[in-house]
């Protein structure tokens, strides 16, 4: 066992101190406080792990830029992952876990906007562009391959996309 050589500046030591908390964290999360008190049967570890990974992948790490809690190496993300894991182990549904974070952080925490109301625009607009472009391409290909030549073309159709 080696002790760390002392660093020159106390500030760096303190900075390094932040990392310390994380060391004791992931391994020692308290399990569900009273498993016997709950009706839900204990989930197998692999199920808990898989659901935790999926949930953590759908939530945004609040202290990072655009990374999910699953991907982020930051300390808060690790703690959130531990929290998700314990909530899943307690028998909470995916919707309940997501709802918990939603109620604390607002919609910003969801890495994918909920597909309802105005947000549908983000899903439907690209699809609509693809569909419209597809129709334009199909119509043009049909017209351009018509044996009688280009007669009867009324619209400016030299664009295949939008």
């Amino acid at each position: 066992m080696t002790a760390l050589p002392p660093l020159r500046r106390a500030r760096w030591l303190r900075l390094a101190g932040i990392l310390l908390v994380g060391a004791s964290l992931p391994a020692q999360q308290p399990r569900s406080a009273d498993p016997a008190g709950r009706a839900a049967p204990a989930l197998p570890d692999s199920v808990v792990e898989a659901r935790t990974t999926a949930l953590a992948g759908s939530l945004r790490c609040p202290v990072c830029q655009g990374l999910s809690i699953q991907d982020s190496p930051s300390e808060l993300a690790q703690q959130m992952r531990a929290l998700i894991k314990s909530q899943v182990a307690e028998g909470k549904s995916d919707a309940e876990v997501r709802g918990y974070f939603l109620s604390k952080y607002g919609e910003f925490i969801l890495l994918e906007p909920r597909a309802r109301g105005f947000n549908l625009l983000a899903y439907l607009l690209p699809a609509a562009i693809l569909a419209l472009g597809g129709v334009i391409v199909a119509l043009n290909v049909r017209r351009w391959t018509r044996p009688s030549g280009g007669a009867g073309a009324q619209t400016g159709g030299s664009s295949p996309g939008a």
Partner: protein, 195 residues
């Protein structure tokens, strides 16, 4: 040139520019919290720095929000590695001392830090007027939807979050918030306004 078509194309492009111009007036780092107006999440955390005077608590005691009903609670999340916490440190202690005679409890919650580093940080700054609590696993921080430090929550006597402040807070703002909550709560204590 077909000017009619040009005008149509320009009109199609214009809203895009307007959207971007609007976006420039916004700060992307400012994220509204859903918490103000809601019941504050409960917490019960251990004291590791006692604080002074009216706000003081014994080291090792547990401070729980439930036990603080009837008081305004000022809850400040901080860390020794947080640069902005330095700027607000004096102001928080100042406000705590100014409000000491009133039903107000200040508490600091250490966020993702080691207690020793926190103690050292406070000692270097000549102490703090209110107790500091430890939050292992950042459970309380996550419960309060923390994006970073410092963040400060003002909780009214009924346990609702009245105000959330992101970034360093200053004494004037804090005392004004607490006083206005106390002013609103005093008549409510004699005759409830009903809900």
């Amino acid at each position: 040139m077909n000017w009619k078509r040009s005008a149509v194309a320009a009109a199609v492009a214009a809203p895009f520019i307007v959207l971007l111009a609007w976006g420039l007036t916004k700060d992307p780092r400012e994220i509204p919290s859903p918490l103000p107006g809601r019941q504050a999440p409960e917490f019960a955390l251990e004291v590791f720095i006692p604080g002074e005077g009216a706000h003081a608590r014994n080291v090792g005691d547990t401070v729980s929000l439930a036990a603080l009903r009837g008081k305004v609670v000022v809850l400040n999340f901080w860390a020794s590695w947080c640069l902005e916490c330095v700027t607000e440190h004096q102001d928080l202690s100042l406000a705590a001392r100014q409000l000491a005679g009133k039903p107000v409890q200040f508490v600091g919650v250490l966020y993702n830090d080691v207690k020793d580093a926190g103690r050292q940080w406070v000692a270097q700054r000549g102490g703090e007027a209110y107790p500091a609590l430890d939050d292992p696993g950042a459970r309380a921080a996550i419960d309060y939807g923390l994006y970073g430090v410092p963040e400060t929550f003002v909780i009214d006597p009924s346990g609702k979050i009245a105000y959330k402040h992101t970034g360093p807070i200053w004494a004037g703002l804090l005392t004004a918030k607490v006083d206005s909550i106390l002013a609103a709560a005093t008549p409510a204590a004699s005759g409830p306004k009903g809900e």
